[in-house]
Amino acid sequence: MLTYILRRVFQSVLVLLVVGLVAFAMFRFVGDPVDTMLGQERTMQDIERLRESLGLNKPFFVQYWDFLVRAVQGDLGISYRQGRPVAEIIAERLPATLELAAVSGVFALTFGIVFGIFTAIRRKGLAANAIMTLSLIGVSLPTFLIGILLIYVFAVELSVLPSFGRGEVTDLGGWSTGFLTRSGLIALILPSITLGLYQMTLIMRLVRSEMLEVLRADYIRFARARGLKTRVIHFRHALKNTLVPVITVTGLQLGSIIAFAIITETVFQWPGVGLLFINAIQFVDIPVMAAYLMLISVMFVGINLIVDLLYVAIDPRLRA
């Protein structure tokens, strides 16, 4: 057991290191930060001086090593764009992204399961078919288009929802939350739908096909033969058995909700880490890009590690 865990942890760290190395190798192709940092009136001398002092003339693996040495001491560097410590900026922005991801996760899960059950039970109904057809939109339309469409309908034409931003936020000891004000809650609606639509359709289709499968199983037929109420059969017996794969998929999708937030955040000017990352790319803000990519990979690797460990807990064959 212990060797298994140690091995998995060791592998995770290795993955992180490789991600960092690839990221630093890529930064050279994103562009040169020096030009945007110096403004129009820079001389060739200024460019050389700044490149030298930022260490941009060094090979990328040396830059990566410098980053790692400082990162393990808790120093993520100074943002080239904002001139403030990266750790502080990320801590400031993370709540916005996590709240958005949580709300769209709940949205996707709730509506995904409800619609999934509905379309499975009323397989031939008109409403079920309509939902299935509409769900194709969720899968096929790009996120930014859905966002702009929602803004056009609900903000510009109907003027019921705000078109951008987080509304009013309350600061709870370093965690800024939009859950406590009315404008904060309203501001969450459009971005979470935009972000969660894809996951919702995914869950819906998964629940539907699992449910159809289960409804054909022998024990359901037997339950019907026993004369149990349809409602009990559907919700107590069938639904429970469809949820196992749904939970696995949802867990894995959580990471991608946070990663996909980049586009949604740009459309809605949502001040989260995704928007921060987009700005960092445009400005070639290497410290922020490096920190963000490491953060996301830590998250993905962490989720995978937990899932792996859960398998060990569930499946006795792995404990040998």
Partner: protein, 529 residues
């Protein structure tokens, strides 16, 4: 149907709750694509940062929204009678910083020295200054390395800080990224300007309120009592926010949305030519071009080829089709508000494919050649589309153009490093004087000058004239030199001008302002009607 009815019924309630908000009539909610990078007034010489700084800090001499130089913290300025290389400035008395400290000549000396320091972004504007000294509590002397008649032009964006405040908070030095720490002045402000910083969350919201002790009360409209600034990057979202009334003023209405905004109730688009010209640079200096089909020779080194390109580009078509009328075709890489610009210079050659072909023939390239055009795709209005249009136009004279459109962070280093044969660049002239253009774009690329000259062009005679411009005190003689330089530049055709951009500001009814050619906003000039 039912859904729609519900939504419509809910609309008025929700609107009062969140769209109108508890804001008073004098609050102006302002949005633009870009966010200010820092609050340190000397760290970033870049449009959006300077705009924000102008509300909080003030320079000695201000360029107002009509482009005229007007007194700000200096009430008058003139060259010293004894020594031509000294500028004497009389400072405004009775001005206090937001923190209550008094403004005097020691603050001005401190601020100018700070702006001249190694890590300042503004030091190039003050490169001729050798000493700044206080000759009295409200008299300032700026010594230059020779007579510099245009020094005041360079001071319009250099903000004054309080020496005591900066020293007490360890903010004497401008932000140095390499040092790995942030400076106090990057997050805190203490200016003399018309607005006081209330709160700031970078990329989210910056709030400023009117300064009750401002020296200019009564002199300026000062109709805005509170400014709420939000950057909104996505153009569609920005326009939507203006249409819904969530913001009152946006600085960048995309050309494709102009009609939509203009036809909406309660909003208008105001327009003015921008101080920015868009053009192509040609690598004339290289022995052989990197990415072309001609080996052993550089077709751009032949002025006939350059001329052929100049007349093969249909500027009016670009204006009508690509820019939807939102540009002014140009014949010189000097925007109209800049001294040295003349109508004759700005006349562009008629579009003439046959003549262009004849020139190509004459130069020995009758069969054409291929070359790579480097173009930014996120910097200027419709930049990539302009380049695409150019590809088609040059194909008519046999030049096969391979377009490489890149984000700005990758495009501009190509010019600085001389790694491009054919590129797009836009140029604004903050000093409103041609010398700025010659210095950066025509002078041979050396350590101190010509840093944006990516053409490899080098003309010692021209270089000498450019250098002597900076110390010519006889303004008439200087104007003649500028005219001579432009005449020379027009002969060489190392740059192909396309057009001057036009600024489109979207503003809610009730506010009155002119559009500033530098895209700078000075809210103290905003009036209500």
């Amino acid at each position: 149907m039912t859904k729609r009815t519900v939504a419509l019924a809910a609309a008025p309630i929700a609107m009062t709750a969140l769209l109108a908000g508890p804001l008073s009539a004098e609050t102006l909610r302002w949005a633009r694509a870009a966010e200010a990078l820092t609050l340190d007034p000397h760290a970033q010489n870049e449009g959006p940062t300077t705009t924000l700084m102008h509300q909080i800090y003030e320079p000695l001499i201000l360029r107002n929204m009509e482009g005229e130089m007007v007194p700000a913290l200096a009430t008058s300025w003139e060259p010293s009678e004894e020594d031509g290389s000294v500028w004497v400035m009389t400072l405004r008395e009775g001005v206090t910083f937001h923190g209550g400290e008094e403004f005097d000549s020691s603050d001005a000396v401190f601020s100018l020295n700070r702006a001249m320091s190694e890590t300042s972004n503004f030091k190039e504007l003050l490169s001729s200054v050798t000493e700044v000294r206080a000759a009295g509590p409200y008299t300032l002397e700026i010594v230059t390395d020779g007579p510099n008649p245009l020094l005041p032009n360079n001071l319009t964006n250099i903000m004054m800080m309080d020496q005591g405040w900066a020293e007490a908070n360890g903010a004497e030095a401008v932000q140095d990224y390499a040092a790995g720490e942030d400076t106090f002045s990057a997050r805190n402000t203490n200016g003399t300007g018309p607005y006081v910083l209330e709160s700031r969350e970078a990329d989210v919201r910056t709030v400023m309120t009117a300064n009750p002790d401002y020296w200019g009360i009564g002199e300026f409209p000062l109709a805005v009592s509170e400014i709420v600034f939000t950057p909104i990057q996505n153009p569609s979202t920005r326009v939507a926010a203006l249409l819904t009334g969530e913001v009152d003023f946006i600085q960048d209405v995309p050309v494709q949305d102009l009609e939509r905004v203009n036809s909406a109730d309660g909003i208008e688009v105001i327009t003015a030519p921008q101080n920015r010209v868009i053009f192509y640079g040609l690598n004339v200096g290289a022995e052989d071009l990197e990415n072309d089909s001609v080996s052993g020779a550089n077709p751009f080194a032949d002025v006939r080829v350059r001329r052929a390109i100049d007349i093969a580009i249909n500027r009016e078509a670009i204006q009508q089709v690509v820019m939807r009328g939102q540009s002014e075709p140009a014949g010189v890489i000097n925007p109209p508000p800049v001294a040295g610009w003349t109508e004759e210079l700005d006349e562009y050659p008629a579009y003439d494919v046959a003549a262009a072909q004849a020139l190509m023939e004459e130069a020995g390239y009758g069969d054409g050649f291929s070359v790579q055009l480097d173009c930014p795709n996120d910097r200027y209005v419709n930049d990539e589309a302009i380049c695409q249009a150019t590809v088609g136009m040059l194909a008519q004279i046999g030049i096969e153009v391979n377009l490489s459109a890149l984000p700005r962070a990758q495009h501009f280093p190509l010019i600085a490093n001389g790694e491009t044969d054919f590129y797009m660049l836009g140029w604004g002239v903050p000093t409103y004087d041609s010398e700025y253009v010659f210095n950066f774009l025509y002078h041979t690329q050396t350590e101190g000058r010509g840093s944006w000259n990516g053409t490899g062009y080098s003309n010692p005679e021209m270089d000498a004239m450019i250098v002597s411009l900076s110390s010519e005190v006889d303004l008439e003689a200087r104007d003649q030199m500028v005219a001579d330089l432009w005449a020379m530049a027009e002969e060489e055709v190392i740059y192909i001008p396309i057009h001057n951009q036009i600024l489109n500001w979207g503003i809610a009814d009730g506010w009155e302002t002119v559009v500033d050619a530098d895209d700078q906003v000075l809210f103290k000039y905003f009036a209500q009607n």
